[in-house]
Symmetry: none
Subunit: 213 residues, 4 copies
Amino acid sequence: LRQAPARRRIPEVTRERLLQAAFEEFYHWGFQSADLDAVLARAGLTKGALYHHFASKEALGHAVIEEVIAPGTREHWLVPLARAVDPIETLIGIIESISVELPAIAGGCPLNNLSQEMSSLDEGFRQRLAAVFEAWGSGIAAALERGQRRGSVRRDLDPKDTAAFLIATYEGYLSLAKNSRDGRILQSGKKRLGQFLETLRPVNRGPRRPMIS
Amino acid sequence: LRQAPARRRIPEVTRERLLQAAFEEFYHWGFQSADLDAVLARAGLTKGALYHHFASKEALGHAVIEEVIAPGTREHWLVPLARAVDPIETLIGIIESISVELPAIAGGCPLNNLSQEMSSLDEGFRQRLAAVFEAWGSGIAAALERGQRRGSVRRDLDPKDTAAFLIATYEGYLSLAKNSRDGRILQSGKKRLGQFLETLRPVNRGPRRPMIS
Amino acid sequence: LRQAPARRRIPEVTRERLLQAAFEEFYHWGFQSADLDAVLARAGLTKGALYHHFASKEALGHAVIEEVIAPGTREHWLVPLARAVDPIETLIGIIESISVELPAIAGGCPLNNLSQEMSSLDEGFRQRLAAVFEAWGSGIAAALERGQRRGSVRRDLDPKDTAAFLIATYEGYLSLAKNSRDGRILQSGKKRLGQFLETLRPVNRGPRRPMIS
Amino acid sequence: LRQAPARRRIPEVTRERLLQAAFEEFYHWGFQSADLDAVLARAGLTKGALYHHFASKEALGHAVIEEVIAPGTREHWLVPLARAVDPIETLIGIIESISVELPAIAGGCPLNNLSQEMSSLDEGFRQRLAAVFEAWGSGIAAALERGQRRGSVRRDLDPKDTAAFLIATYEGYLSLAKNSRDGRILQSGKKRLGQFLETLRPVNRGPRRPMIS
DNA sequence: ACTCACGGGACTCCCCGTTGTT
DNA sequence: AACAACGGGGAGTCCCGTGAGT
C-alpha cells in the first residue's frame, strides 16, 4: 500500500514551468493585468512554489525576460545569424518564416508587447528589455559586418543603423498586423523587408541600387 | 469682454476634462492599470460626474480613442495632408517635427500603446483603433494619389502599400526609441524615413532612384 | 414657431405615476434593492420630480403602502365585503378569483413581500403595513359579525380569530406557490379555504359541522 | 487532555463561522442588503478567507441555504418526524414548541424570508429553497402516511395536501406575527393548528369530526 | 520544496441625494 | 414643477503576498 512515487520534486523543472506559464499569461494579458493565480493554475502549482522561486511578481517578470524572451530571440535570430555564411540570405529566410496566420499575428511580438507596456513604468523591466533589443541589434550588425568583410554585404552601409531599421520596420509591421487582424498587411511588410534586404547586397552582385545608404 | 466665472455645470467642458484626464492616465499607465480615481483627481471631479458621462471604464476608453486619439491623428497628419500641394514635402515636414527629447519619446505613440495592450483583449477597442489606423493610412494614400495625378509623386508606387510602410516604420522606430530612451535612434529613423520619402519623387525631378516600387 | 403645448404639468398625475412606477419596482426587486433611477425611467421622469414630491426613498416607500397597497386591499377585499349580503359567499368569490397563472403567483403578495422585508428594519414601514393588515382583518371580521347578526354566519366563532386564520392561510399558500412556481399548490389552497369557509355557515343551513370554533 | 490552542487555520471551522455569520446577517437584513463586511466582522475574518471559501456573495447565499437552513429544518421537523410513533403527537409538539416571544417572532422564518426575497430574482436561490420546502413537505407527508398505515392517522386524507396546508398556515401565521409584533396572533395560530391536527386522528379514536377531508 | 488557508488593500461600479437652472 | 449635472459614500470583487505546516 505504498504511495506512488508521484512527481519527484525537481526544482529546475518547477521553475521552468513557472516561467513558461508566466510567459504565456503575460503574453496574453500583459504583465500588470496578468493573474498570478492563472499562472499557477496553468503551471499546476501553487503560491508557495512561486514565491519560493521568485521574490515577487516583478521578479518573475524580470526572469521571464531573461530566461524566456531573450533565449527566444537568440534562437530565432542570433544563432542562425552567427552561423550564417551569407547574412542577407539568412535574414531573408527568417523574415520569410514569419507566420501570417491569425493566431500568430493576433498576439504580436512578446518582446515588443512587454516593452510597450512596462518600459516607461519600471526601470528594471526597461533595462532588461533594452538589453534584449541591444543584443538583437548587435547580432544583426555583427553579421552584416562579417558579410561586409567577406564581400557578401555592401560596404557603404552602417551595420548598426541598418539593423535598427530592420528591427523597427519589422516590429512596426507586426504591430499594424496585430491590430488589423489582417495577414495581408504583414505579407506586404515581409515583401518590403525582403526587397530592402536585397538592396544590401554588393552592387556588382545584383542589378539593384541601394535605397538608403 | 470679461469671461463669465463659468466653471459650474457645463457638461461639454466636464466631459472634455474627463476625456483629457483619462487620456493622460491611460497613456501613462496603460488602460487596464490606470486608476479611475487618479483620472478624477486629475480632472478635479468625482465619481458621479464620470458615471454620468460614461457607463464604464471601458466606455471611457472607447470615447478616449474616438474623441482624443483620433482627432489628434487628424490634426497632426490628415489635415496637413489634405491641404498639401506636395504630399511628400508635407510628410517630410511632419516627420521632421517629431520631438526627440526624452519626455516625448519615453511615452511612445498613444495610438500604438493602446493598440498593443488592448487590441487582442477587447474587440470594441480593436475596432476603434483599427478605424484610426485605417483613416491614417487612407489619408496618406489619398495624398500620395493626388500627388501622382499632379506629377509630384512617382506613378510606379502603390499608395496604400507605401502608406502602410511609412506608418509601420514610424511606429517601429518610436517603439525602439521608447524602450531605449535614446533620442539618437529616433533621429536615425527620421533620417531614414526622410530619405525614403525623397525616393518617392518622380525620377525626372531628382537624381535618385526609387528603392522599393 | 411656437413650442407645442407639450405635457401640461399636472402635479397629481406626476405623483401618481411616481407611486405606480415605484410600486412596480419595489414589487419586483424589494424596497431596498429597488433602483430609484429605474423607477424614474419607468415613470418617464427625473430625480427632480421625485424629490419634489417625496423627501426620500423611505418616504416614497411609505407613500406606496398608503396610496397604492392599502387602496388595493380595500378594493379587492373591503369594498366587496362591506357591500356583501352574505360575507361567506363573498369571501369564497374573492378566493376563487385568485389567478393561478405563473406571472401572477411568481410575484407573490405585495403586502406580504414588503412586510417580510421591511417590518423588522424600519418602524415606519412596519406600522403602515400593520395598519393595512389590521384594516384587512377588521374588514373581514366586521363582515362576519354582520353575518352573525343576520344569521348567515355561525354564531359560535370568533370573527377576529377567524379573519386572522383566513389571512394567514391565504398568505401562506401564496408564499409556497411563489417559491414552487407551481399553480397546483395554490389551487389546492383555494380549495381548502373554500371548504373552510363553508364550515362557517350556520349548522341548520348546511350539513357540515364546523371544524374549528 | 488539553485542547490544542487551535484557532489557527482549520478550514472547516472557518467555513462554518462564515456560514453562520452570513446566515445571521442575511436573516436580519435580507440577502441583497446584507453587508459582507458585517458578515466578516461578525465572523472575525477578512475578505481573503471569504473569497477563499466562496466564489461570490451569491455562492455564499446558496451555501447558507444548503448548509444552514436545510439542516435546521431537518433537525427541527424531519428528524423528530422520522422517529415518531405518532406523527400527530409529534407535530403538535413541534408547533407547541414555537416561541411567541418578541425576539423570535420579529425575525420570522429564515426559509420563508429568503424565499420571499430571492425566489423571483435568482433561479439558483429558488431551486435550493424549493428543495428545502419539498423535503419539509415530503417529511410531513411520509410521517402521516406511516401513521395511516399504523392506524394513528385518518385514512381519508391526502398526506401531501395536508402537509402543504400545515406549512402554509404555519408560515402565514409567522408572517402575520412578524409584522404585528404581537405574540397573541401567533398564540392563536398555534391553537388553530393544534385543533386542526387533532381532527386528523381516526374518528373512533376521538369524538371530533374532521374539518377538511 | 511545496501546499493550503488566509490577510488585506485597492478598484470598479452602483446608487441615493443635492444643486443650479429653466 | 421638473430637469440635468454632479457629489460622494460604500459594496462586491479581485488579487498580491504571507506563514504555518508537511
